[in-house]
Symmetry: C2
Subunit: 356 residues, 2 copies
């Protein structure tokens, strides 16, 4: 006898609106009206019969077919350049939560900082007819936004502004300048005068803004950074260690870690290997709050970025744009917070040597 595979019942196709209509002895139009509960004259008895039929069949609406008819899709996407990075993960978690509450599911994509990958993935998303997209562009290229714009996908740019190129971008980010400034300022106020900066050598402007903040803070104290104070390199552990070896720890007393990934861990490893301790041998302020910032001993002074709030605002703005494509939000730049730790040594004013 042997049916091809599995029992007949389990082989039946998923029930459609047609099946429901048939079981409820009515038309598919009626079923559709009931299921979308439009206000329409409808005998309660029929309504119940339809609902009943849908339930017994385990009917689930085919959103694919609905969206063909121009209905909302129920999907938004997020494109991040480093899915593994805590910072982005936290943002994604929040976006997912907000979107879920609004009835959407979230496609999360990773461009790996690779523009080509970003474009091809965005093409897939466009093809999937997503309702909207939160985009954190890899390496600040703008081809992606043009693609999204051309296909009228409501978009919110996250974290990496596209500058003047795209005029009216809806943007949610945080204040990179402030983070650089605040970190440096804290060291300066503790009495430090020779302060290095470790950062990512990348074309995205955010890093430069942090450096700008760093320099501005120094300028406030009448200090011009030496050329070998600013170290920009790959965002990797090795680069961090390599650079750490180049820092003149005899002159430098403080350091601003521009990122919590790679460079930071590299420096910390280097210090440990050379048996240098913070804050005694070197004072440290880090931009970013990885899980471990207050687990290591002594805990690090950090600049906390408002990841959750960024995710929340980006999601809310996107949902607003999905509802009304004409909607324009303000360019949101959220402030950062200083998290005190024990990684900065207080230098008594008297001991400050001016020059040699």
């Amino acid at each position: 006898m042997k049916t091809p595979k599995g029992d007949p019942a389990s082989r039946a196709k998923a029930p459609t609106i047609r099946d429901v209509a048939h079981l409820a002895r009515t038309s598919i139009a009626t079923v559709s009206y009931v299921l979308n509960n439009k206000d329409r004259y409808l005998r309660p008895e029929l309504r119940d019969r339809v609902l009943e039929a849908a339930k017994t069949l385990g009917y689930v609406k085919n959103a694919v077919a609905s969206s063909l008819k121009g209905k909302q899709r129920g999907i938004v996407a997020v494109m991040v350049p480093q899915f593994g990075n805590n910072f982005f993960t936290r943002i994604c978690v929040e976006i997912e939560a907000v979107a879920r509450r609004a009835g959407f599911v979230v496609i999360i994509c990773n461009s790996d900082e690779n523009p080509g990958q970003e474009i091809s993935t965005l093409e897939r998303l466009v093809s999937q007819k997503i309702d909207g997209c939160v985009l954190c562009p890899a390496l600040s290229q703008t081809e992606s936004t043009r693609l999204l714009e051309r296909h009228r996908v409501p978009t919110v740019i996250l974290e990496r502004p596209l500058g003047d190129i795209i005029p009216d971008q809806d943007f949610v980010g945080h204040d990179n300048y402030q983070s650089g400034y605040m970190a440096t300022r804290h060291l300066l106020e503790a009495g430090h005068r020779a302060i290095a900066f470790f950062g990512w050598d990348s074309p995205i402007p955010n890093v430069n803004h942090r450096v700008d903040g760093y320099k501005a803070a120094l300028a406030d104290f009448g200090i011009t950074p030496e050329p070998d104070w600013v170290h920009l390199d790959d965002l990797s552990l090795d680069a961090g260690r390599r650079r750490a070896q180049q820092v003149p720890f005899d002159r430098i007393t403080g350091i601003v870690l521009g990122h919590h990934l790679g460079v930071a861990q590299g420096l910390l490893q280097h210090l440990r290997e050379r048996r240098l301790h913070w804050p005694d041998d070197l004072s440290v302020v880090m931009i970013g709050t990885p899980e471990w910032y207050d687990l290591i001993e002594p805990p690090l002074c950090c600049i906390e970025r408002p990841e959750s709030e960024m995710g929340r605002q980006a999601a809310l703005l996107l949902l607003e744009k999905v509802r009304d494509p004409q909607h324009r939000g303000p360019q949101t730049i959220l402030p950062v917070t200083f998290i005190p730790g024990s990684s900065v040594r207080q230098i008594p004013p008297t001991t400050i040597s001016t020059g040699s």
Copy 2:
């Protein structure tokens, strides 16, 4: 003059296959054949014309319409119970990578350990006609799998097996028993005899397997754990601290941290507050490898779970099932690895006191 908003060109709808056909002066059938490059007799000149037209229009296929016709969707989903948890994030990152290479985008959903939320989200996914789903069920309930099964969504169960209830589940997980055993064994071999276990008080079996491993290791050394050695509580920092206060540190010399979240951080905080140090005052082995395990000083001995490999295998198995729904994989249970640290004190054999 003022057009309603935006210039007319930018208001045009996204180009469809019909537009391409028109521009190429041919039928939509031909365009479809070209774009899917089916083998069909086709004059190269026409083919080029179609491709050309598609390009000039910036045509992107509407996957929604395709999938209505029974084509593959190009979307798979992952449902995790704790999106914020590193462990799951790492798995997701890998699933995303594998799926992307195969041409899929990934919807990531978070059930927050809430079965109701899980079901309702899965219903959305079913409605979206996803091609497949990697599911890590909240609290081991099986209603979810039945839903997916009923709608014939190829599914791979991740990390939390559903036991005998679902007979032929395709499963990818890691060896929880081994992790408990290995951690405990390491302490025992270092000479410890009074070893506590901190774990999550939850209905999912994985935790119990770890406890089983813990007990089995103790039994190997002829030890029966005291009732107050095993602490199961919420997976929260507070619970960790609360429980830590109850541990008789005068008798206990080693502790197995069953999770890297919450309990672990709670305990470490507690130790720090009481100025207790590992490994001198207490030896610690932790199951899980958060970013910080080797950044804190001294670094912790850990049991590493194969997160990436789990993600990879789950994704590959799922893709296989998407290709061939009849496909059945083996129940994969991946081994864990011990990562040596400096958080376990070696107790000289002579100092072992038997009884008081």
